[in-house]
Symmetry: C2
Subunit: 375 residues, 2 copies
């Protein structure tokens, strides 16, 4: 089912629509995957996590990470797999001591608070993150079907330097980011140094994921939206731009597209596009038509259904999905990957995802659809 | 110090720059007030709250509400007072049972969950909110100086219908608003009914505040930014637009300007402007130059310093304030009220506010400033 595009994406893929959409090439239907698609809303995930003993046990054991990565693909007709991991693996490997406290989210035992803490930060060795690269390679192998074709491409990812810095300095999630912002307004030099080394670490981390088999990579800038508009450019976007420039564009002759997702960053996507990134993730507050007008066709767009729409009736889910697809003029206008505007809620009924994925794939495939399109 | 503008705002004011700026009239310096300026960062507020026994004791006793409303004016050279109250007074008066649990924020004992709960909702009697109107009148009187002039204008306010609905249905603050969004996608008719009656209630509430002495009114749409772009228009903005249309434009011959503040609503301000509102509050993620380009000069803009800048050095505070003022071209271009982009943090050092207010007032008053400007 491969097209003869001039930029041929990864070969050997049974379904390459996700990579094609990231490269703004036509696809017969809109590709869809969901942020946090391997997660607690799936009973099979909960069962594997129970076997693993903990979230970190799951993420740090390639067998388990592979198992849960594939679970949503077995249940739904998704067009991409995403490495099961956590955004905080890099600072954990820097020695900050990641732990998950039930009901409170991730925490670092040794947050970065002063000059001495910052001075100690180093790019982690590849060995310290070997479990991630091993999982990546193992998932790649597990995605290959009996006929030798890979079911769907595998996405690698990292937290953005700013988002990692938020956790590294605050020690946990925060409502107003008082500690890191105090550093920003009192010791910008320290924050700059922390971000520089973290950016170097993310570059090495994503490069290693690509070498291990990730076919696209995504930066999750979960907390970029907490910054003032000008501060965002300096403290988050500039570092993501350096990552985009530094990442290998190809691996084994295949283009490896990249995606930046800044939650709450809808007003800044023209600036994000200028980094040269291949695709921009949109949260659900952003009007796709406005986003498209802002960036033109220089990059693909990914998103952006409100995850809460999955609590609706099947009829509401279909209607909301159709609104998103219509706003992107997808799949008629190339360059759209359907996704939620944020990670799927743990309380989502699994059947709602079936309804959604089917609705996305069926959209625009009425009688008017070119009959030559591969099914 | 009154100008001879064609739209004369409230008379008898020693300082009317806030009202003038809301009406896009020139002011000699940029007026400034701070959301939540009467609050926990002030030791005198903490002392009064201790006397009152609780937050609700404070808000429901006009003597105390008056006392804390005036505290920030005695400490800082602010250009407006804002009624001390809570955004959740209206649903409380609807019988939902507001309570404050230490460390957890506001909660309702009887949240609205089903058709029967919605059917019971009524516009509260004015008597049930008498304490708010009494406080408003008492604060107005307390603002009058020995020479008979009122120090600064008094702002009244309410939560937006959508924001009130979030608390009414969730029962408390929420990270993802699952309950209200489930209603939105399953029983939109119920949510519509709840919002309709809540909108009627807010209209009556703000009208009564204006009759009691509020000289400007503001809608706090704290949770509008949790909505998808199109959902925002239907579920939040449409109801705020009805309020703007219904409110009295004048009281005792004086124009009473209104302000809409949707946190996270920076991308939607052209739509907000179309409601006919006099001013739009901006959070700190919004670039003032972009906002001005979006709305032109059809309304004033209020904002938008990151509240965390107040954790910075005095030098950083002055620099950040100057950046905001420069971006608004304020006070040279009329129609800007300086504020934070969100409520002031309880951890703010009080002296930082002194630095900020002085910096705002001093800005643009160099040798080039017209010598005829009143000091």
């Amino acid at each position: 089912m491969l097209f003869d595009g001039h930029l041929m994406p990864a070969t050997g893929l049974a379904n390459d629509s996700f990579l094609r959409a990231l490269m703004r090439q036509p696809t017969p239907r809109t590709p869809v995957w969901l942020m946090r698609q391997a997660g607690r809303y799936l009973p099979e995930y909960v069962a594997t996590r129970r076997k693993a003993g903990s979230f970190l046990g799951l993420a740090k054991t390639p067998d388990y990470a592979t198992e849960v990565t594939l679970q949503p693909l077995d249940r739904y007709d998704l067009d991409a797999a995403i490495l099961f991991s956590d955004i905080l693996t890099v600072p954990d490997a820097m020695g900050l001591g990641l732990r998950f406290v039930e009901g409170e989210g991730p925490q670092f035992e040794r947050p970065v608070r002063d000059e001495a803490d910052v001075a100690k930060l180093r790019v982690p060795s590849r060995d310290s993150l070997r479990y991630v690269y091993d999982a990546t390679a193992q998932i790649r192998r597990a995605l290959v079907r009996a006929d030798g074709l890979q079911r769907v491409p595998l996405i690698g990812f990292s937290g953005s330097p700013w988002t990692l810095a938020c956790y590294m300095i605050e020690g946990q999630s925060s409502r107003d980011f008082q500690t890191i912002k105090t550093m920003m307004y009192r010791r910008p030099d320290l924050l700059e140094r922390l971000l520089d080394v973290t950016t170097d670490a993310v570059i090495d981390y994503l490069t290693a994921q690509i070498e291990a088999g990730a076919q696209a990579v995504m930066l999750f800038d979960t907390w970029g939206g907490a910054l003032a508009h000008d501060a965002y450019r300096r403290w988050s976007l500039a570092h993501m731009a350096r990552i985009v420039r530094a990442l290998p564009r190809e691996q084994a002759g295949e283009r490896v597209p990249n995606i930046i997702f800044t939650k709450g960053g809808g007003a800044w996507i023209a600036d994000i596009a200028r980094t040269g990134v291949d695709a921009i993730g949109l949260d659900w507050t952003t009007d796709p038509a406005v986003a498209r007008a802002a960036v033109g066709h220089c990059c693909a767009l990914q998103g952006n259904l409100d995850p809460s729409a999955l609590f609706g009736t099947d009829e509401a889910i279909r209607a909301e999905a159709a609104k998103v697809l219509t706003a992107f003029d997808s799949p008629r206008t190339p360059g759209h990957v359907f996704n939620l505007g944020h990670g799927i809620s743990q309380f989502t009924p699994p059947d709602a995802v079936t309804t959604l994925v089917e609705a996305v794939h069926a959209f625009g495939r009425g009688p008017g659809f070119p009959s030559s399109a591969p099914a």
